[in-house]
């Protein structure tokens, strides 16, 4: 072989060997749900291009926070990449679990202006409202509603509804309209089966009822603080308007949910809806591809609408997550390489195709996006009205206090809505005082 060819060939071989030697085994940690399976599929492309091997650690939602926060708190090296819940961002940043990504974003031309603003605030920033980024928006999610379009379209039901309420039976625009519809279907016989109004979040143990009730509270005037005083709780969290929002949610639970739905969250709501028990289902948007694909309720039988407006606002509870590099990882460079790959518009477009909800503007603002799926427009409308729970480092204490107070009132019927919110203010005040923030 001529020296002219030998030297470059040897150099190429050496580079290839060096490339192989640099190949890393990366573990990505997330919840065990449908989008995670889509991510496994998507990541095959990264493996092929980078030479790194991807492993995945997926934990079912009820144990996700316990398992992953234990991992982070103990400085574990299991996860190189973490798609942690949006509320964890404050803890991840302040406890040093996540790598700060500002310099990396700047060096690689990744701009947060390219992502839906709400997802940047919700999934990436800490402190909120400041340009300090600890994650790349990975999966946009929001609470919305699914309804049995095929039932709504039945002429006899349309006629009966119009006679009773004086308006068309269609997806509701307001929370009051939603309750009317749920009441209309409650206990109704459809095709020989007794059906119920709505499957809503009532789960007590982790975050379920909070993720549900906030969709009513926000729209009745509840807020976590004021722009001037972020920790002003008195009169904001427990305002009379907020109490009315809580009363609304309890009324919806009492009048229009299936018997025994006292501890329901995502999976129970899905089951009730897919099995034809309920006309309406509150759930995070991630389930919509699964609804469409379901033989019982998919294929045009279901419709989607954003959380309806209330008397004092129009918001929906933000879900979703950002992807972070775990600071205890020994493969941080490879993990950052994954994030760089994941942020590319073509990868994000494929992510949406596979069932993942991209937060990249280039994807969601594409002219064909809104019609790409039956639920795409509802996703866009919902993402425009999101509000998130506290992302404070003490979010877990804040969340569980809210779970306790709200569940006691809504499900167990203890005390009044005002007492529940007053108790919540007392608890949250104590927590923030312990944190030195009040």
């Amino acid at each position: 072989m001529n020296i002219r060819y030998t030297v470059p060939a040897a150099a190429t071989a050496l580079l290839a060997i060096a490339g192989t030697a640099q190949a890393d085994d990366l573990t990505l940690c997330w919840a065990a749900w449908d989008p995670a399976n889509a991510l496994v599929e998507l990541s095959k492309d990264f493996e092929a291009k980078s030479g790194n091997n991807m492993s995945f650690e997926f934990v079912p939602w009820p144990n996700f926070a316990d398992r992953m926060l234990n991992e982070l708190n103990s400085g574990g090296k299991l996860c190189d990449l973490m798609i942690g819940d949006s509320q964890w961002i404050g803890l991840g940043a302040e406890a040093g679990h996540y790598v700060k990504l500002n310099d990396f974003f700047e060096a690689n031309g990744i701009s947060m202006d390219d992502f839906i603003p709400a997802t940047v605030t919700g999934y990436s920033e800490w402190p909120k409202g400041t340009p300090n980024y600890w994650a790349l928006p990975a999966f946009g999610d929001v609470v919305g509603w699914t309804y049995r379009k095929d039932w709504f379209e039945r002429p006899e039901l349309q006629a009966e509804f119009k006679e009773k309420y004086g308006r068309e039976l269609k997806a509701p625009d307001t929370l009051d309209e939603l309750k009317d519809i749920a009441e209309f279907f409650q206990g109704r016989d459809i095709d020989g089966t007794t059906v119920y109004g709505a499957a809503i979040y009532t789960e007590r143990g982790s975050e379920g009822i909070t993720m549900g009730v906030t969709n009513a509270l926000y729209n009745y005037g509840f807020s976590y603080g004021t722009p001037e005083e972020p920790y002003k709780l008195e009169g904001v969290v427990n305002s009379p308007e907020a109490a009315k929002g809580l009363e609304y949610y309890k009324a919806l639970y009492d009048c229009c949910t299936p018997p025994g739905s006292s501890d329901w969250y995502m999976s129970e709501d899905i089951d009730a809806y897919k099995s034809g028990q309920v006309a309406l289902q509150m759930n995070f948007a991630f389930i919509w591809p699964g609804v469409e694909a379901d033989p019982n309720v998919g294929g045009g039988k279901s419709g989607y609408f954003p959380n309806p407006a209330g008397p004092d606002g129009h918001f929906a509870q933000l879900g979703g997550q950002g992807i972070s590099v775990v600071s205890y990882s020994d493969s941080q460079d490879a993990a950052l390489e994954y994030i760089k790959w994941f942020a590319q518009p073509e990868v994000q477009a494929k992510w949406w195709e596979l069932g993942g909800y991209s937060a990249l503007k280039a994807v969601v603002e594409d002219p064909g996006f809104a019609t790409s799926q039956p639920y795409a427009q509802t996703f866009l409308d919902s993402m425009a009205i999101v509000k998130d729970f506290w992302a404070e480092p003490a979010y877990a204490s804040l969340l569980l206090s809210m779970q306790d107070h709200v569940h006691k009132y809504v499900v167990a019927g203890e005390g009044t809505a005002q007492e529940a919110l007053d108790g919540l203010v007392a608890d949250w005040t104590e927590i923030f005082q312990d944190e030195g923030k009040m």
Binding site: A95, R204, P258, S262, D263, L400, H407, K408
Partner: protein
């Protein structure tokens, strides 16, 4: 470990053993054998206990190892003892303990008494009765949630069949008044066989000659039951109560599966509440104080009970 224990161990050491360890005294050899146990005891029991007591006076959070830890005196204890929610969980635990023990003792003893009478197939019945206690509490909790399901659950259907009530009109685990009973029913179903087995052992330990003597004295069956059976089975029953009391005080998995502590906090027992404080809210210092209070309570109650048990055994 007291000095007298070491002395006793040294005295009990065979002379031949001491000869093999030349230059070591019996006392030293005894220490060599006892030391690993003492070390393990200190490492696994005593050190964590002392550490927990220390943490109970601080605001330490295990999920924030970088944050400064402050000494806050008795504030954690003050908060716990004045927290109405904690008292509610204590009340729920007491309610659960009392009813499960009463029901399990009554039904368990009755079953043991029936099984003890010789009849055809009693071995088969014994096997069938003890089946529930062989299952995992988490599994039991899971399948009873289906049994309690208002739309498809067998339990509601059976109740509806006997009472005429609409099976879908009530939810055992979704109702504040019924949820505690839903748990009591499952726990009783699962653990009554355990009490039955202990009572059966007690019944079978009573010599037939005592009953024969009573027959000779023309004592009625009722009198035999109260003067022979009950007193002789009582120590066994008390032991069963002790075991079930300890087990049910730390009950966790079954309740978590069945109700998750709800609705509201109706079935939130102290073990569940403590776990939430320690490993969900991550208030480690607060949870340590909580654990110490529970430890002192259980230790005090158990000491009194064991004294009573010993007195019964001495009779």
């Amino acid at each position: 470990m007291s000095q007298s224990v070491i002395t006793r161990a040294a005295e009990a050491t065979p002379p031949g053993l001491a000869r093999r360890f030349r230059g070591l005294s019996d006392r030293t050899i005894a220490w060599i054998f006892v030391a690993p146990t003492i070390f393990l005891l200190l490492a696994v029991n005593i050190f964590p206990l002392i550490w927990t007591i220390r943490l109970s006076f601080t605001n330490f959070r295990a999920n924030r190892p970088n944050a400064g830890v402050e000494w806050i005196g008795l504030r954690n204890y003050d908060r716990i003892l004045t927290d109405s929610d904690i008292w509610q969980t204590m009340q729920a635990t007491a309610h659960f303990l009392c009813w499960t023990i009463v029901l399990q003792v009554l039904i368990g003893f009755s079953l043991a008494w029936l099984i003890n009478r010789k009849f055809k197939g009693n071995d088969l019945w014994t096997t069938i009765i003890v089946l529930p206690m062989m299952l995992s509490p988490a599994v039991v909790g899971n399948f009873w949630t289906f049994l309690y399901q208002p739309q498809i659950g067998l339990f509601n259907y059976v109740v509806g069949f006997f009472t005429g009530a609409d099976p879908t009109s009530f939810s055992m685990i979704g109702s504040v008044s019924l949820a505690p009973w839903a748990i009591i029913i499952v726990d009783t179903w699962m653990w009554t066989p355990f009490v039955m087995l202990i009572c059966l052992a007690g019944l079978r330990s009573i010599p037939d000659s005592i009953y024969e003597a009573a027959e000779c004295d023309r004592a009625s069956k009722w009198r035999q039951f109260w003067t022979i059976t009950v007193p002789m089975v009582l120590p066994f029953l008390m032991l069963a109560v002790l075991f079930r009391g300890i087990e049910n005080f730390k009950m966790f998995d079954l309740v978590v599966q069945l109700t998750g502590g709800g609705p509201g906090s109706t079935t939130e027992l102290t073990s569940i509440n403590l776990k939430r404080e320690a490993f969900e809210k991550w208030r480690t210092g607060y949870a340590s104080a909580y654990a110490i209070i529970l430890f002192v309570t259980v230790f005090g109650l158990a000491s009194i009970y064991v004294k009573a048990l010993n007195k019964v055994k001495e009779r």
